[in-house]
């Protein structure tokens, strides 16, 4: 008996066959997961697809059970969350899993994205796969933002106020749109109610787009750390059991780390201020979004000057959405024919600089703009660091990437995955750099 393969193929039981000939779910699973051939050289960064699937299911599960106890009303929401924490059986566990789950969901999605950028996974023929991923990111952000409003703490309220006010930057109709979003003239009960309804809905939209994401993945096949397409069976292994097992290892480690936070430092990623009930007349001294929004928040704040005829407020909002917008067109900004950064000596450096830039943007987003960056140099403020890092972010995507495609000389690509794996890296007889083959 071969390890772990299921018997759903042609040899299934009568019932399985009966169902499968009418609704081919078993043969679909067999084809897309059991027999599905994946490049054999994935590294551990390829675990994050499975980890993200798990996180989505965990968030939906905990969310549904929390919703059974939560009350979306301004007068009751905060107390209902505390009741979950104190009186509901394991309510504290469900809530801390959900709150820390959001954090770890974003950690995983950011690693997943930067992996895609490092190994050029967004390049043809995987452009739509990548764009669907960006759609998922946008939906996740919307879901996370609305979910953060539900406990009705100080940060919930003021975060909701600030973020919905972003739309007031839109010329002419901005204020009407904000009033529409609020269902009133400030963030209040109608706002909380609709955010709850939408927060419950969006994960299922995400689930739908995830299915499209996976379908697109299974059409093109996975990218791999070398970025060269598999040439035949010697380059691949069946997804099951090889990658189901490997994904399980990565998932177990990831969940272990998350559990350590959930049980021993559940509020590490949270804002203390959100344990104070929302007070619509008292703004906290320092409003910050959750950590996963900080880089975008930094870009928003860094545009504090008018750009030509666009006033600063609108320009900041455009820049923030533009930061995600450039990801949509990334497959066409990067002109290099080589996928993996392993064979792109210059891009490799700029990749790490971009990662550092994003981390600094996160740091900038969490600090008051007037603070000095270094204790000894008061003239160099956080806002200045914000200018530089915001500039670099767009410079990287809009200027550098197209230019690199022209000026960079890639290293020789291996002929095939198995040659590179057996030959020990790239030292084997390698073809000169040539455009990647279309699958």
């Amino acid at each position: 008996m071969s390890a772990g393969t299921n018997q759903t193929g042609g040899t299934g039981s009568g019932l399985v066959k009966w169902i499968d000939s009418r609704l081919p779910i078993f043969s679909y699973m067999q084809k897309e997961y059991a027999e599905f051939e994946a490049p054999k050289n994935f590294n551990w960064f390829w675990n994050f697809g499975a980890i993200l699937t798990f996180m989505l299911v965990l968030m939906i599960m905990t969310g549904i059970f929390l919703a059974m106890q939560y009350t979306p009303h301004t007068g009751l929401a905060f107390d209902s969350v505390e009741r979950i924490m104190r009186d509901v059986n394991f309510g504290w566990l469900l809530r801390y899993l959900h709150a820390n789950g959001a954090t770890f969901f974003f950690i995983a999605v950011y690693i997943h994205m930067f992996r895609g950028m490092y190994y050029g996974s967004y390049k043809g023929p995987r452009e739509l796969l990548w764009m669907l991923g960006v759609v998922i990111l946008l939906l996740m952000m919307a879901t996370a933002f609305m979910g953060y409003v539900l406990p009705w703490g100080q940060m919930s309220f003021w975060g909701a106020t600030v973020i919905t006010n972003l739309f007031s930057a839109i010329p002419l109709v901005g204020d009407s749109i904000v009033t529409l979003l609020w269902g009133g003239f400030s963030v209040d009960n109608p706002t909380l109610n609709r955010f709850f309804a939408l927060h419950y809905l969006f994960p299922f939209l995400i689930f739908g787009v995830v299915i499209l994401h996976v379908i697109a993945l299974h059409v093109t096949g996975s990218n791999n750390p070398l970025g060269v397409d598999p040439k035949g069976p010697q380059d691949t292994v069946p997804f099951h059991p090889y990658y189901t097992m490997k994904d399980s290892v990565g998932l177990a480690v990831f969940v272990t780390i998350m559990a350590a936070f959930v049980f021993f430092a559940p509020n590490f990623f949270g804002e203390p201020e959100n344990y104070l009930e929302a007070a619509p007349l008292v703004t906290p001294a320092h409003i910050v979004p959750e950590w996963y929004f900080l880089p975008f928040f930094a870009i928003l704040r860094s545009i504090d000057f008018n750009i030509w005829f666009i006033d600063a407020k609108l320009a900041g909002v455009l820049a923030m959405f533009g930061a995600i917008g450039v990801l949509f067109i990334l497959p066409w900004l990067d002109k290099s024919p080589v996928r993996s950064a392993k064979f792109r000596p210059m891009y490799k450096w700029f990749f790490w600089i971009l990662l550092l830039d994003c981390i600094i943007l996160g740091y900038v987003g969490g600090k008051p703009t007037d603070d000095a960056v270094f204790a000894g140099a008061a003239w160099f403020k956080i806002i200045h660091l914000g200018y530089i890092t915001t500039f670099w972010y767009f410079f990287h995507f809009l200027i550098l990437l197209p230019l690199l495609g022209i000026f960079e000389r890639p290293k020789p690509l291996p002929k095939s995955i198995s040659e590179a794996v057996l030959g020990g890296g790239t030292s084997g007889a390698a073809a000169t750099a040539k455009p990647m083959e279309k699958a």
Partner: protein, 261 residues
């Protein structure tokens, strides 16, 4: 070799993200106020538990001193069993306070003594009444204060035990007090604790520091009553997950060993 190398890179990446988060969260501890010193709390650490004797004394401080102005809405009298109080003791504590209940058959609201299932009775019927009685300042509810400040228990302990005379040249307006640990250093709450402000039945000397210590232990429990269960369960869960990860890793190695990878 590849695995080790990849792991190292993965670790570096996660480390960076964690560092970014650390930096961003620590940003809020900053301020112009004096930084609260780290104290050695009984509830800290993976195996930390509630110091029940101290928290019981803290309850006394809360009831005799703080509860004149501060509510404790999220905690019910029945919860005191966590701190080792018996059912009869809890009933007796609750019965000292009156709650408004109703309406009765005549449609009237009425007062009755609190029972174990009631939440701690608030000193004021609503925030407006609380502000009116406190020069416009709102005494915060104490249920979650330990979680609601970046400095947590250390901050509240420093604040309660840190009242001192204002330095020369510092103007303290009427109705405010000087406290170097409070953001802005001017606080509407007058120094709440005085030497021997309560009389402990267990003979502990009720110094200001001792009372601050006890009431913070009490407030910490009030903010996270699930803490002991959480840590106990967490130890088992994390241990289980580590073993599971190890077994899965071994199985994965075995599975992949027959591939020329």
């Amino acid at each position: 070799m590849g695995i080790v190398c990849n792991l190292r890179r993965a670790a570096a990446a996660t480390g960076l993200i964690a560092a970014a988060a650390l930096v961003s969260t620590s940003a809020f501890a900053a301020g112009d106020a004096k930084h609260a010193e780290e104290q050695d709390w009984h509830f800290e650490g993976i195996f930390g538990t509630v110091d029940k004797a101290s928290a019981q004394r803290g309850l006394q401080v809360y009831l005799e001193v703080c509860s004149g102005c501060h509510s404790l809405k999220q905690v019910a009298y029945r919860n005191l069993s966590d701190l080792g109080f018996t059912e009869a003791e809890i009933k007796a504590i609750a019965a000292d306070y009156d709650v408004t209940d109703g309406p009765n058959d005549e449609g009237e609201m009425f007062e009755r003594p609190a029972i174990a299932s009631d939440a701690f009775v608030s000193p004021f019927p609503n925030n407006e009444a609380a502000q009116a009685s406190n020069n416009g300042a709102l005494p915060p509810d104490l249920s979650l204060q330990v979680k609601a400040h970046a400095g947590g228990a250390n901050y509240i302990y420093a604040l309660l035990s840190g009242y001192e005379d204002a330095p020369v040249g510092k103007d303290v307006p009427n109705g405010l007090s000087y406290n170097p640990f409070f953001p802005g250093e001017l606080i509407a709450m007058p120094a709440p604790l005085a030497e021997d402000g309560v009389e402990y039945s267990d003979g502990t000397v009720a110094s200001v520091d001792q009372m601050a210590w006890d009431v913070v232990n009490f407030m910490q429990w009030a903010a996270e009553p699930e803490m002991e269960q959480r840590k106990k369960m967490g130890f088992k869960v994390v241990l289980f997950l580590i073993i599971l990860s190890a077994i899965l890793y071994a199985a994965k190695r075995k599975m992949w060993s027959n591939l020329d990878h």
